[in-house]
Subunit: 340 residues, 2 copies
Amino acid sequence: MASTIEDVAQVAQVSTATVSRVLNQPHLVSIQTRRRVLDAMQLLDYKVNLAGRHLRTNRTRTAALLLPGLGSSVISRLVEGVEDAALAAKYALIMFSTRHDADREAAYIDLITRHRLVDGVLCVSPCSSLENMHCLENDGIPLVMCNGKLDGVASVLVNYSDLTYQATEYLLAWGHQRILLLNWTVPSGEVPVTLHTITHMRQGGFRQALAATQAVPQTLVVDDNTEWQAHLAHMLRSTDRPTAIIACCDKLALAVYAVCRGVGLRIPHDLSVIGCDDILVAQYVDPPLTTIRVPAYKQGRLAMESLLQAMMGDAPEEPAVHLLKGELVLRDSCAPPQQL
Amino acid sequence: MASTIEDVAQVAQVSTATVSRVLNQPHLVSIQTRRRVLDAMQLLDYKVNLAGRHLRTNRTRTAALLLPGLGSSVISRLVEGVEDAALAAKYALIMFSTRHDADREAAYIDLITRHRLVDGVLCVSPCSSLENMHCLENDGIPLVMCNGKLDGVASVLVNYSDLTYQATEYLLAWGHQRILLLNWTVPSGEVPVTLHTITHMRQGGFRQALAATQAVPQTLVVDDNTEWQAHLAHMLRSTDRPTAIIACCDKLALAVYAVCRGVGLRIPHDLSVIGCDDILVAQYVDPPLTTIRVPAYKQGRLAMESLLQAMMGDAPEEPAVHLLKGELVLRDSCAPPQQL
DNA sequence: CTGTTAGCGCCTTCAG
DNA sequence: CTGAAGGCGCTAACAG
């Protein structure tokens, strides 16, 4: 059916070793021979059989990409970075999206380790337990993380701590005293703190900025369901309501917009709002949303490059940890607090 | 290093053939032997080497997923459907996102065909030329398309024609006479019409709905750049401006919101707007956006199931073409046209 | 620069 | 129900 190097060798009147060399170390083959081999390949419409190569080399040139989910613009840009780096090195990507489900993530990791179908794993915002990650470690499969940190594992982090600090400072500078942080819930169970860096970094930066002031940090935890919206509406109706909100993503920030309309508060006059991610529509809404922009593409690219290094075998002794900067994008959703 | 079936066979005191059977046709092995083999596997922490299996079976149990891009909620739900179907059948997915770039898509297809690294290809909203697709066909690699149609190729389509028809009817029923369709541009070059089904279906449904009326169909083509926004602003300032707009996605619809604010028109009083995709924020904006919701998860699931069938070898004679229904989600962005 | 050779790990007939 | 044996396509020594 499909032609093999043997067929090519026969047509080109050379040995299979030479054909293989043309494929992998062309500089070791004389121009004339190379030409003959390439012609034969074209003639036979030859295609390398990767299974054979993988079996022989014991490497698949494939990496697994473990994502928390798709459909977020940040993730998608991150993936583009990963993809570009992988393709430049001729690596393929097998994708798994866990949809923020720890069980699913565990199942995927099990699948990966049980089948040895990849040379390395790139894990973005891991949500499952520590054991799973160590499972990979122990198997000697190179691992790099984005937005998560584990001892001895290379990772590329965005400094959400500093960004949230900046956002909070920005609001403080405008005189806000009652600022609310709208943050994700941390999955329950004995999940290691180190994994959930974003949520904790955010919290940390927020607290740190407020520590030097009289302002009291308020936090509202957001679950999957929509109860938090009713809760927020209730808070916003009270007399000592927050005058500013920092949301952990733009979608949430825009949900706050809707809650405000329901309650009769106007942004930014009655309430300042800061989002995160800088999604496209953030600039279209009324008022345009002040938000945090994150170097997602760069993050993905760096992470993949780091993983490639590890897969190539020349991993640095001390696993690298990158900490990337983001920026606050000022638009019109913040203003001084109203005098009550 | 890693243990093989040979190691397992030795420990379990059986032949490698038996170990292989335990892996693939356990019912052919006696309970006792099976037990012994499984114990040995556990003891040795045995993992199948897929490369060996692939080489032997000449199948990789892997499918390629060719996406136009990530970061759209529709795509992400579609991918979830694909993923669920694939995993249920124990197939892995290799992902490629073309970012609406025909060259990139062609490169990916070349990669796929040149390496034979997948058993089948699932192509979503293809953007490159016909040849590439036939390239796959000719290679005998099973192919299924989403939102694109090619002769002899199975596909799963959403009936955007009908949906746009419905949306137009809805606006007509409210008395609109000057309706504008905001549609994507069709890539230039000798790109086959059959590929760009969504764009054309939309156009078709729109024209069809207006054909029975005196209303004149207007279309504005949206490019990657933002010039169209200035153009739209200009149109909206004219005396015979459109009184309603159908946008080909919610992001665009929300961009229209912003243009309206710039021009001083109010939605829905001065202008009715209908979007497409029902992104999360569509319900948060002011006014909540009337939009088209599409069964993306189901589409992905069906497409993958269809591809699995083909990869299993029992493809139907006549490649299946599914046509899925969507629905119009009524919110508050439409109203009767203002009396001028 | 090129050829010979020996497997990589697995599945699958064919016998028993 | 189980075992023996061959080979899938490729690469990497080792010779020449």
